[in-house]
Symmetry: D2
Subunit: 258 residues, 4 copies
């Protein structure tokens, strides 16, 4: 029709070829959402599991995502091979599809993880895409998030111990912790509450890493089928290990040099 | 930490000031989704109502959205006053928040509209943003969509009449309709199936327009309060009227010259 | 060849359709350039004429430029009809062609304007493109530049009068002028140096506006030719008039509603 | 002033950090320019030298440019260290400054290279920027250009030999060459015109590479000064060597791993 010229105002938004595409989704106003839905503090295992479940859902839909890191209300999918041609690397397509799938997976699996608690209102997420030219920056990105997870979680653990077990007001608890170094928080947790921070589940201290790994199919005895092209399959494995050092990356060199 | 340099790779994506921001969301693979969830054909009233409900949810969250048009599995929110400063006009923020809210509203209200039918899998949506410099292009955009809705719906109505009531195969039905003009489809519907196309609900023929309208509060008798600043409230009104001609726009001049 | 994949990394950069394209070029380090080439202070007529000449050269090359405003070492070409399709609105193409032509025109015509003075080193210019959605913003853009021209020129005129005629040091002259209002500078110029600022050439106080105007060809007496399509020609006219008020724009309505 | 809001429409255009910035300039309509200024065919040594001279001028101005490749009427500066922070990596600034400097250098040095020939009109150049994430793509980019230079130059050499020495019409010459392989053109040049293509100057067959190289200052005998920080200086060296193979890059590893 004579109106269809308006379609031409859509401007293409291709992502630079050869770069690693990192997509991040983060819960919108989860401070309120976690309060209204009475998440346990500082960490709610059900909520974290639900986040992991939604992230797995996204990875199942997009095979090109090979790695994801989650903590608190957010997930970062680094996710695409540098060479992905998903949606011709159209930025908005990739970003909105991923954010929308994450959102609906979170809703879809809510009842499994919170069987006793109906959703009071629908949660939502924001998303963004960041490009990294090289492997080093991708590694540093995940390291950055994990260091941050550690700092936040140590603080939150100490804070809620003071409030819940120490009967401090929240203002008080902040005052106690202000300016303390990492070692002092460890010490405080241990001496006052008998909590050995390093013995807490790695899941809480280090966040969750979802990795797409290749599955080598068992060799077939049937000689006929051995001639067939073996279908390469993958599975998504969860880790709660350190990503700052070399070890994890050495064991997963395919993630950076696909 | 020494890793935080990676944050600098996030590139700002401001939308050009002074332009009208139009956001579109469209169901991903709703051909399959509508089949699996047995939507009635060609239009499922429950499904259309659910779409409208999700769009209303978005408009309730974002006051700056003043107009939205929906048909089939998609919604276009033109949405923002040209002068909106929502999220400082950051493209990804606006786009992902809107798409995510739409998605979760759709999920949240599913059971109300499909009480007998559980979701088999989570639906998702893609989104994009288009900028228009002037009112004329915004009007033409909505006109474009409505003309398209009409063409598609007339075709689909004739098609499914042939298949469901005329016992044609789908291939056959396509063959019958190939190359027919609009008038011929009207004629076919009337002569063979007694359907007066123009008497079908406007909702199906013209799509749904959601308009934010100002509500003038009833004047207070209390003289004291009359000095108080009257809080301006708005409500979201649904229309199924023509947007190609002048009439609608004349009656809603505030939409284009806010 | 197997290397040609690298061409795909070129990313398209179309300018939003329907917007007014404004291009600005500004002399790089003209503080130094004007000193080394002994421009007279505060304004060098030869230098300003040369700038105007370069801007005309650009407008002669690109018919779609309809308006340009120059002052000091810079020129703003607003330049393009909102509907221009020059180079398919490719940003880099338009911007670099324009900046390069401006540069080479400046060099090419140097000797005409500075016959006694050889270029000591090649001058260069930076450029940028700004998009405006509506006529109002385009008008305000030129008004903004003209107001700025006025403020700068009044200051510079007073400053150099103090230095050149008043035998102040430059530090002194700045000190004298610090915090003075516009009226006080007028007063100072008049009382101390007998200069009536408003009587200075409009070219200096208001900058130069180059306008593409239609030339109506004289009607032909030859009846045969009157049936031929009359070729529309244009010429570039210089103005030094006010662009803040209504008058100029009323007389040139074709500039904003082409 | 109340107009200054228009400044906010300038949108930032930072180049992705960590990527290699490649800038290309190419003569606009040099088909005509070379004809009007009677460049010798197929290659005019004066014209090529002038291009090299302009490219050197750009490299002298921008220290961050470490490599440039020229052929015919174009130059590609790959130019920037991936980590350059020139103009905060603002795209338009870098691109226009570079294109403008190239243009004015070309004009400035014209008379040295064409002492007998005045410029009939000012030449101009277009420019663009391309980003490459890794060293491999940068290498392949230069290889791509050099392979292209070879193909074009071999064709042009054969073509002009047929026209100038063989008295063919241009249409004829194209017809003779249509569909010929590389080896056949070598053969034709040798058998008909006694030209050993591989013996032609490498400058014509391989283009010109300008490389910024470190200059190690001679050790000072003065013991006092040996404690001073040695100022690192660089010089720009021209090569006409192969860049497709490993050798050049091995000898210049600092270009890719700065
Ligand atoms: N109690 C509890 N709260 C959690 C848990 N996971 C996340 N949260 C809350 C704590 C924070 O208030 C919030 C995440 O912080 P953000 O910086 O993302 O802030 P928020 O989502 O409120 O705002 P935003 O829209 O992202 O700017 O979610 C959990 O497992 N338990
Ligand atoms: N039966 C039925 N189908 C509907 C209704 N509304 C939408 N659909 C289906 C018809 C189309 O197959 C589909 C919408 O067309 P699209 O062009 O958006 O295609 P689809 O969503 O499959 O693919 P996409 O991911 O958008 O490229 O949704 C409805 O009310 N009833
Ligand atoms: N004496 C004299 N100087 C002039 C004339 N026109 C421009 N200039 C000088 C005065 C300023 O120092 C300079 C223009 O100011 P800008 O803000 O553009 O600074 P400049 O070009 O030095 O630096 P930039 O590279 O643009 O950041 O040019 C003139 O007619 N006479
Ligand atoms: N005779 C002669 N011509 C040359 C020489 N170097 C370049 N040229 C001419 C040959 C080509 O016609 C032209 C370069 O080809 P381009 O593809 O860049 O085309 P042109 O600059 O005409 O158009 P453009 O504005 O770049 O699209 O310049 C030379 O050394 N001698
Ligand atoms: O979301 P946060 O708290 O990590 O902080 P941010 O991403 O820098 O902020 P924003 O969501 O506004 O981009
Ligand atoms: O989604 P459609 O069918 O209206 O078509 P499109 O928007 O042009 O296609 P795409 O979703 O690929 O942008
Ligand atoms: O060039 P100026 O002085 O008008 O100032 P600017 O344009 O804001 O600065 P920049 O050239 O750095 O964009
Ligand atoms: O300039 P050419 O001939 O190398 O070709 P191009 O760069 O692909 O074309 P354009 O100048 O139009 O970008
Ligand atoms: Mg955030
Ligand atoms: Mg959050
Ligand atoms: Mg968060
Ligand atoms: Mg689509
Ligand atoms: Mg769809
Ligand atoms: Mg659709
Ligand atoms: Mg500047
Ligand atoms: Mg300047
Ligand atoms: Mg200036
Ligand atoms: Mg070109
Ligand atoms: Mg060229
Ligand atoms: Mg060329």
């Amino acid at each position: 029709s004579r109106f269809s010229y308006v379609k031409n105002y859509e401007i293409a938004d291709p992502l630079l070829p050869g770069t690693f595409i990192l997509a991040r989704v983060d819960g919108r106003a989860f401070h309120r959402f976690s309060t209204e839905h009475e998440f346990t503090k500082p960490n709610d295992e059900r909520a974290l599991n639900l986040m992991n479940c939604a992230a797995r859902g996204v990875m199942t839909e997009f095979n090109d995502i090979i790695l994801a890191f989650g903590e608190s209300d957010e997930f970062r999918h680094r996710s695409f091979f540098a060479s992905t041609s998903l949606y011709n690397r159209r930025m908005s397509k990739i970003l909105t599809a991923l954010t929308s799938i994450f959102t609906s997976m979170y809703m879809f699996h809510w009842a499994e993880h919170f069987p006793q608690k109906a959703l009071k209102y629908p949660p939502s997420f924001d998303g963004r895409i960041i490009l990294y030219p090289s492997e080093q920056e991708v590694r540093d990105y995940f390291a950055w998030r994990q260091v941050d997870t550690h700092i936040n979680n140590l603080y939150n653990t100490a804070f809620w111990a003071l409030v819940q077990q120490g009967a401090h007001s929240t203002a008080d608890a902040h005052a106690v912790l202000r300016g303390t170094l990492s070692g002092q928080k460890h010490e405080l947790l241990f001496s006052r509450f008998g909590i050995n921070y390093n013995a807490l589940p790695a899941r809480l201290r280090k966040g969750t890493l979802l990795v797409r790994e290749n599955v080598t199919p068992a060799p077939s005895l049937d000689t006929a089928s051995s001639k067939k092209k073996i279908k390469r399959t993958t599975m998504i494995v969860a880790y709660h290990c350190d990503v700052v050092g070399e070890e994890f990356w050495k064991g997963h060199s395919e993630l950076l040099n696909p």
